[in-house]
């Protein structure tokens, strides 16, 4: 055989190596499955049998990623869920299924745990839906977002983050995705509730959750679902901004409040509003991990600590602090409408250290702060020796 032939043979071998690389670690792609909340399971010191029981109950209640099902108590629309769930495919009229896996799962994960493949690279991390906590909404801090809130976020995206706008999708598709996000959140909340319920078992239960409709639906699922249903009627009442408002006076008043003790925005957003105040806090997704790590460092149960450390390495991202927003960028993650800023100030940001001004600041004063905040990207700050708008990049 000539050298040329032997080279072609080597090329063929290279092809085989390439194919081996392509399929490395894979057989046929396994069907998609929901990932258990191992962080919570380990925290609650659940046994493998208990973890299995939770998984079985959840599958009976919510189905699988390829075939979701829900009980009527959730109030979710199965037709919408089926449009969003499952593998990506479309039919002869172009109707696409598997929207969540096409658009969301690579960041938010199949389970909605914020642990999709790309998650570690993104800052901020993608939202973990499982605690059922959402930041940008038109409801009070502790309430769930309305369906329209989720649709708005999907439509507009979140500027300054990796969350894109899905404005190019049809209304039906965005609607289905919002429904699926609620489904994943309810599933995650139910899972948390079930895992925490083991703590309340008595000896007669023999370490097993009661598998009765009363407990599973009445005391667990319905509690979660009712809070979601209540969101529709929990919109924050917003007084109209006075039409004849003197904007300059309003901004001055807002500035006074911003630096005053009552609103005390300056504490976190800093005297320059560049977000350089207190900056070592964590949000509600990262804080439990930080605290648990501290607990593990101090525990004497080394075997459990070792297991927990392994779980954290595989099922949690490295905690990051949440810097207060730099208000001179003019980038408002929850929406740039004055109304959106009103919601943020009134109710605070659920899951983040941003507190609610409700009860402390009068509604008309909240409008003044809104006007001041909106003026910040364009403010001339003589005190800092700057005779032009002090934009954030002046820091660098």
């Amino acid at each position: 055989m000539s050298m040329t032939h032997s080279r072609i043979r080597r090329l063929s071998q290279l092809f085989i190596v390439g194919m081996a690389l392509a399929v490395s670690g894979c057989g046929a792609t396994p069907p998609a499955s929901f990932r258990a909340n191992l962080v919570e399971a380990t925290k609650q010191r659940l046994t493998p049998d208990q973890e299995k029981q939770v998984a079985t109950i959840l599958e009976a209640m919510f189905g699988t990623p390829d075939r979701p099902c829900v009980l009527p108590e959730t109030g979710l629309d199965v037709a919408k869920l089926r449009l969003a769930a499952g593998p990506v495919r479309s039919d002869i009229v172009g109707r696409k299924n598997g929207l969540y896996r096409e658009h969301c799962a690579h960041c938010h994960g199949i389970t909605g745990d914020g642990l999709g493949p790309t998650a570690a690279f993104l800052n901020p991390y993608p939202r973990d839906y499982r605690p059922g906590v959402f930041k940008f909404k038109s409801t009070e801090r502790a309430d769930k977002p309305t369906h329209d809130d989720l649709v708005r976020i999907l439509h507009n995206g979140i500027p300054g983050t990796s969350m894109p706008s899905f404005a190019l999708l049809s209304e039906t598709q965005v609607d289905a995705l919002a429904e699926y996000v609620k489904y994943l959140a309810m599933r995650g909340e139910t899972e948390l509730a079930l895992m925490r319920a083991f703590f309340e078992l008595d000896d007669a239960d023999q370490g097993k959750l009661p598998e009765t409709r009363e407990f599973l639906v009445g005391e667990t699922l319905a509690v979660v679902a009712d809070r979601w249903k209540a969101a529709a009627d929990a919109a924050i009442p917003v007084p109209q901004m006075p039409a004849d408002i003197d904007l300059a006076a309003s901004i001055a008043k807002g500035r006074e409040l911003f630096y005053g003790d009552k609103a005390n925005c300056v504490k976190c957003h800093g005297p320059t509003a560049l977000g350089d105040g207190q900056a070592n806090d964590y949000d509600d997704w990262n804080k439990p991990i930080v605290e648990w790590k501290k607990e593990l460092a101090g525990t004497e149960d080394r075997a459990w600590a070792s297991r927990a450390t392994g779980v954290l390495a595989g099922d949690a991202l490295t905690p990051r602090t949440i810097p207060p927003r730099n208000l001179r960028h003019g980038i408002y993650r929850g929406g740039r409408r004055p109304l959106d800023l009103y919601y943020r100030i009134h109710a605070g940001i659920n899951g983040a250290p941003m507190p609610a001004a409700k009860g402390t600041i009068a509604p008309e004063d909240i409008w003044h702060i809104v006007n001041y905040v909106r003026s910040l990207p364009y403010e001339l700050d003589g005190e800092l020796g700057v005779d032009r708008p002090m934009v954030a990049r002046d820091r660098f």
């Binding site: 040329t4 032939h5 390439g18 894979c26 002869i92 696409k96 706008s165 404005a167």
Partner: protein, 339 residues
Amino acid sequence: MSTSRVNWTHLVACLLVAVTAVLLCFGALVTTYEAAMAVPDWPATYGHNMFLFPMAQWLGGPWDLFLEHGHRLLGAVVGLLSLLVAGVVWRTGQRPAVRSLAVAAVLLVVVQGLLGGARVLLDDKTIAKVHACTGPLFFAVAIAIATLTRRAGPGLVAQPRDALLMPPQPRAVAATVGAAALVIAAYVQLVAGAQLRHLDAGIDPLTFRWLIGFHVVGAIVVAALVGLLAWVNGGTASVARRWSWLLAAVVVGQIGLGCAAWVVSWGLPSGLLPESWRLSEAIQARSMTGAAVVTGHVVLGMLILGGAVVLWLVSGGLRDPRTVRSGRVPAVRREGAFA
């Protein structure tokens, strides 16, 4: 046939390369728009014979259907062209290397078609990954056939006959070995890219981090090899020099497209950049710009592989070094590149 003024073998091979390039663009778009399952059956299209599927429904139907069915039709055309190339190669008595490549092309196109069918019938992403790796390989083979069937072939043929009888110079050896390494690196990059493009949402962030790291290191290796080849071939007035510089320019563009592909998918890497660099607008999912950037990155990757194959061949790849060192003139002297 060898005395014919028109080099039909080369022309048909070039046609195969051109149609394959369009096919690869369609394939890349199918992945970008996740349109692979727009047609649930195979080899039929919604119950129709693939070739008899109503044209109006194809061209006037949904975008996903247009892409997927178009990809299938182009695949069929490429299959037929591969058979034609094999026939012409045999008929014109090309040298064994070209004949082997023609056979490889036919085998690959058949395998690729079956993989495409299996991907649809089993709806399996692993098969999709393999399908995405076989496509560029077929393209590389088609380009090799087109290069080797040039009548006034590139590379050695432009050199004096004595050059063939001289022992290879260290620089020439470096050029050949470097080009071969570039072919391998460019292909491995496409394999890694296929893993990223057909991302299984079930994999964990750590695995993805490894994949990204591998792809970035691969890009550095490809860039370094292209730079090395531009330097090695820089002092000569050969075809290799032109291909080296062309590849260097394309690789620079490819790195830019790779960065842009990240930005249109996930925004600026805000953890690595100052906060003031954040985009003030949310990125737009499924935008034309995003699709063009991401698809362009894949297509340019395949063109780099094709260019690397040409560079390897014009730098002496597939030349028998024993023949050259022993002073024997290569045996086949018909229409091949070394005629």
